[in-house]
Structure formats: C-alpha cells, structure tokens
C-alpha cells in the first residue's frame, strides 16, 4: 500500500492534560492510519482519549509529541491560516452535542462553513450556490421542511443531522464524528448511522468515535483505544 492511499496518519501521538496538581497522560504513543474512503470507528472506555485523538486528527488540538499527517503533509508545519483552511475545507466535525449556533436558522447553520471561507464580496458571488447546496443537503438528510427553523426548535436527531449537513457543506475529505449518537435514543442514533453508511458508500472518509461497541460495529473498521494506546486495529 502506498503513502498516497492514506488520508490521515498519526505516528507516536502523546498528549497529557493538567488536572489540578497532577498531569494526566491521555495518549501514550498512538499510531493510526486512515485510508481514503475508509469508515473507521475508534472505541474505548470513557476517558480513554478517543475524543482527544479525534481533535488532534482534526487539528482542533495539538499533540505534545508525535506527528499527524494529512495527505502526507505534517500538520504541525501548517501555518495558522493553513490550519484554519484545513478545518474549513478538509475536515468536517460532527459533535455529540451538535454544537449549532442558536442565532442562525437551520439553513444558515448548514452553509456557515462556506460563508466563513468567503469575504463579503466573495459571499455575494457564491451565495446562491451555497444556499442551493445547503438546501440539497437538508433534503438528503430529510430536513427540507426545517430549513427556516432555529436549532432549539428541532429534536436531538434533527439537530445532529443539521450538524452533519454543516460538516458536509464544503465537501471535506474527512468527516470526523465525536460520539454522534451519544446523545440520541437508539432509533434516532440508527438513523444517523444509516446516513454515515450512505455517505461512506458514496466515498466519504469517516472517522467516528464511540464508547458503544454496537455503534462502532457499523463502521468498516474498528480500532480500540485502551490505556492511551491502540490495542486492537
């Protein structure tokens, strides 16, 4: 398998946090490789460092030690502007608690990443396209009727689908999902996992974090994080 087949590579990742007077080592040399088009689930007990690893893979956090490569390029060598563009265009995050902006409508939340990537003039140039793309995504996610609603008017499952729409808006290379069903009942969670499966079948690379084995089993590959290391891949 060649280097170019991997979209994300993590080598010897270490990360620790200060908790009061002590320093908690969360990741103790994690190695992980994600291939293009792969659907990977990272599982582990609560506090095992799954979310930390996901945040490091998505450049929301920096490792204390180790290298994360995106399409072969070391993320630590990215400048601030490049990192912002990376978060905006290359990855899409889906969080357990949806993290939508209450001040914006569902439609606005979905096209927000495109708005962020453009200046005022640039936005006026692509506004129509962005709105149409956001509407298409909402339609695919079964939320066409909810476009004008505010996030607090939606159910948990609907909010998570809006968050998925937002994550997909800029057609990212990788979708990073942190406990996407953790806050949903099993039926609604299944619905979200079905969406992920469909996206993966369409070629979308997905890295999902879950503490629930049953959820993780829906992914094509499952890696287990225990004691700060990948124990089973």
């Amino acid at each position: 398998m060649s280097e170019s087949d991997f979209i994300l590579q993590a080598e010897e990742i270490y990360k620790s946090y200060r908790m009061g007077a002590t320093r908690v080592k969360v990741l103790k040399g994690v190695d992980l490789e994600i291939r293009k088009g792969e659907y990977v689930a990272i599982v582990g007990a609560s506090g095992s460092g799954k979310s930390t690893l996901l945040h490091i893979l998505g450049a929301l956090d920096r490792p204390d030690k180790g290298v994360v490569r995106f399409e072969g390029r070391d993320l630590s060598r990215y400048g601030n502007g490049e990192l912002n563009r990376f978060r905006n265009k290359m990855v899409g995050f889906v969080f357990q608690f949806y993290h939508l902006l209450d001040e914006l409508s569902v439609l606005e939340n979905v096209y927000l990443p495109t708005m962020v990537s453009k200046g005022v003039l640039g936005w006026f140039g692509c506004r129509r396209w962005a709105r149409n793309r956001a509407k298409e995504l909402l339609e695919q996610l079964g939320l066409a009727e909810r476009a004008k609603h505010k996030p607090y008017q939606l159910s948990g499952g609907e909010r998570q689908r809006v968050a998925i729409g937002r994550a997909l808006m800029n057609e990212p290379n990788v979708l990073l999902a942190d406990e996407p069903t953790g806050n949903l009942d099993s039926a609604t969670g299944n619905g979200i996992l079905n969406v992920f499966e469909k996206l993966n079948q369409a070629g979308q690379t997905i890295v999902m974090v879950s503490h629930d084995d049953r959820v993780a089993q829906r992914a094509a590959r499952m890696v287990t994080l225990a004691d700060g290391k990948i124990s089973r891949a």
Binding site: L60, N80, F86, L100, E103, M115, V116, G119, V120, R166
Partner: protein, 450 residues
C-alpha cells in the same frame, strides 16, 4: 458576512445588549444636549464680543489714551483690506439722574455712531435708531440736546422670560455725567478749577449688545463730547482705541498682522513727536485677544464640561466592557464552533468587536436622535415648566442676560460625539474580544464546559 450577521443577531437576541445600547444612548443624549447648549452659549458669547469689538482693536489700557490716532486712521482707510474704522474714547464716569442726588459709577465710550456701526455691530444693538444710526444721539424729546445711548440693563428690566419691557423706555430723561479729565501726562487736568467735567446728556436710545457687563454699565456718548469730558480734546487730540472691521474676504488673523505691521511703521515715524511715549503702550489685538478676559472664562467652563463628560464616556466604556464580557462568556461555545469550522482568532475578535461597534452605533443613533428632538423642544419645555410650575431649570432670565437656551446643533460636535461613543464601545469591548479570540476551541467544546 457571517461576522455581520452574527454580530447583529447577538445584539438583537440578547436582552443584556439592549442595556448596553441604552447606556450608550443615554450618555450620548446627555453629552449632545449639554455640549450643544454649552457650545451654543460660548459661540453666542464670542459672536457678541466680536460684534462689540469689530475684527481688530488698536488700543491702550491707559486712561490717558494715545495721540495721532487720526493720522493712523487715514493710513488704515487707504488699505484695501479695511471696511470700517472707528476711533473711540473710553473712560469711567459718575452718573446721576437729573434732579437727584444719587450717582453710580459707569463706563463711558465716546463714539461716532455711523463709523462705529461700520466697524462694529453697534448699530444693530440700538432699539430706536437701528435704521438710522446717525441719529443715535438725538433724543426724541429734542434733537438739539446732547444725547446718550445707555446699556439696556441700566434703564429697562427683564421679565421672567428674558423679554424687556419697552413701555418704561425713559425717553428724554436727563443724566448728569461727571468725568475726571486727565492731561497727556496722566495728571488731573483741572486741578485749579474743580477737577471734574460735568455735563447733562439726554437719553436717546438703549443698546442691547447681549453682553451683561456692557449692557449694565456702559453709556455711549458722542465722540467729541466724550473727548472733551475726558480731557482728550485740545490741539493734540487723543483717543483710547481704534476699532477696525476687515472686508469679508480678509482673514482676521492676516488682517490683524497687517495692521500690526502698519502700526509699527507708524510708531517709528512718530518716534520724535512730543506725545510719542503714549504710542508705546498701544497694542494691536484681534477681537478675541481684546476680549480674552471675558471669553477665556467661558472657554474654561466649556473645557471643564468636556472633561466632565469625558468621565461619562469612561462609564460607557465600563458598561460596554461588562456587557461584552458577559455576552462573550455566554458565547464561548459559539467561539469553539466557529473555530472548529475554520474561523481565525482575528475574525473571532472582529466578530465581537463588530458587536461592540453596533452597540456604539445604535446607542449613538438613538442618543443623537433623542438629543436632537429634545433640543428642538428645549425652549418650549422650559417655557411649559415655567408657565405650569414657575420653574426655570437653567437660569433666571430676570438676572442673567441670556435669552433662549441655545439649541442649534453643531454637526461637527455631533460627529465627534458619535465617533467618540463608537470608539468608547470599541475600547470597552477590546479586552473581552481579545480573550474570546484566545479561547481554545477544544476547551469550549468539551462536554464538561457545556
């Protein structure tokens, strides 16, 4: 674009933001009203002083006056920058209403009314002879008698609304005026014959300059009469000053500089004349410098008010700081979300500074409109308060020589107030915005932070 949309939504959907807008509006309202009234008072006062003095004054503080003024007036009249020139005699006198024993100390000014009206705004201050100033010293009772123009506050009283009652205009009243004539060397001129020059003048008009001190203690006399009364007549006549008005296209500063240069040459030419020493004490001043003693006090008050209202601005900064801090504290999750989709630190800061800017803009707009509406009706409101409750909040018109409350909006001042308010809001929001920009997304998005 998202920064504008989010800043507007944060402003509209957070009730606390309304308080910040209200605080800014209130501050701007107060500053607009006070600064407009204060600036109006100062502007009005300066304008009246300008009208009283003309553009430039060549004068001496000495009661002896200075000689050769006629020669200098001839030089001035040849200059194409000069529109009007008026020689004056200034001194002090005792005045007794005819037939009474009581007397009062006053200032007298000897003028030639036509030339003085050309050089200053004197003609416009008259009541009876405004249309024909040449007759300013002709009493209505008998034009052949020696007339005098009296400061309005010496003869008429104001009602509570600041209006003079002309029904009691003392036409034809005789005033016995006594002066102490001085020689060119400053000695009393009539040591051997009784010291005082006394003459009866008859009230011909009143002068309402709007300057309290002038209107309450100044009596204008015909120039030659005043000259004789003060001992400035004779073979080498003397005057106390020359008031000059420049043509409209001449800048007062440049005009005064030209007059100063002419005066310097003139003084050197007259250096060998017998009364040359009197010319040394003569100064050439712009109207502002000439009236500095009166204007400076008002300007200081205005400056003090500006400083005091600067403190109001500091309060606004603090309020916006607190509100921005509270809003940003509540919006830390949003900051994490925005950063997770690629918003830079600078843009996070700009978003919240945009919020502070909107608070300033909206607050200023409300404050300015409110202040403007209040100022438009301020005199009506005061009149209503007086008519219904007998209350005059600003000043008692029977005592102070100020009529209506000045309410002309100075758009330059308005612009400065609006910009200052917005700047104050940006300063207030700066620190919380910096903190927002520094927040790490991962810390704000953690489950424990929600």
């Amino acid at each position: 674009m998202y920064k504008i949309i989010l800043a507007i939504r944060y402003l509209l959907k957070r009730r606390i933001a309304y308080f910040a807008v209200l605080a800014v509006a209130l501050s701007v309202f107060i500053v607009v009203v006070v600064m407009t009234v204060m600036t109006g008072l100062v502007r009005d006062f300066k304008q009246k002083n300008h009208q009283f003095a003309g553009d430039c004054v060549v004068s001496t503080e000495s009661l002896v006056g200075f000689a050769y003024y006629e020669d200098f007036i001839k030089i001035l009249e040849q200059e194409d920058i000069v529109e009007g020139v008026s020689a004056v005699v200034k001194s002090y006198a005792l005045v007794s209403p005819e037939g009474t024993e009581r007397n009062v100390g006053v200032e007298i000014m000897g003028i030639e009314p036509v030339s003085h009206s050309r050089a200053t705004g004197f003609g416009q201050t008259l009541y009876n002879h405004r249309d024909d100033v040449s007759k300013a010293f002709e009493p209505a009772c008998d034009p052949n008698l020696g007339g005098c123009v009296i400061g309005i506050d010496m003869v008429l009283s104001r009602d509570a609304k600041g209006k003079y009652s002309y029904d009691s205009d003392p036409i034809g009243r005789g005033l016995v005026i006594s002066c102490f004539p001085l020689t060119a060397k400053g000695a009393l001129a009539k040591v051997s014959t009784g010291l005082v020059n006394t003459k009866t003048f008859y009230y011909s008009d009143n002068s309402h300059s709007g300057l309290a001190r002038v209107d309450s203690s100044m009596i204008y006399l015909p120039f030659e009469q005043a000259q004789m009364m003060c001992g400035m007549g004779g073979p080498v006549k003397r005057a106390s000053g020359i008031h000059i008005k420049f043509k409209p296209d001449v800048k007062p500063f440049e005009g005064c500089r030209k007059v100063a240069s002419l005066w310097e040459n003139f003084r050197q030419e007259k250096a060998n004349e017998s009364y040359a020493n009197l010319l040394e004490k003569v100064t050439v001043q712009s109207w502002k410098d000439n009236r500095r003693a009166f204007i400076a006090a008002m300007e200081k008050e205005q400056m003090m008010m500006t400083v005091l209202f600067g403190l109001v601005g500091i309060t606004t900064v603090f309020i916006v700081f607190v509100v921005s801090y509270m809003i940003i504290s509540h919006k830390s999750k949003d900051i994490g979300i925005l950063k997770s989709i690629g918003v830079s630190n600078a843009n996070v800061m700009m978003l919240f500074l945009g919020f502070s800017f909107l608070v300033g803009l909206l607050g200023s707009a409300i404050g300015v409109v409110g202040g403007w509406r209040f100022l438009v009706h301020i005199n009506g409101i005061e009149e209503w308060l007086y008519d219904n409750f007998g209350y005059q909040p600003l000043w008692d018109r029977t005592i102070f020589a100020i009529g209506d409350i000045p309410n002309t909006i100075d758009f330059k001042v308005l612009g400065v107030i609006i910009l200052s308010a917005i700047a104050a809001c940006l300063v207030g929001g700066l620190l919380p915005c910096r903190q927002a920009a520094k927040q790490k997304p991962i810390e704000t998005l953690q489950v424990s932070q929600l």
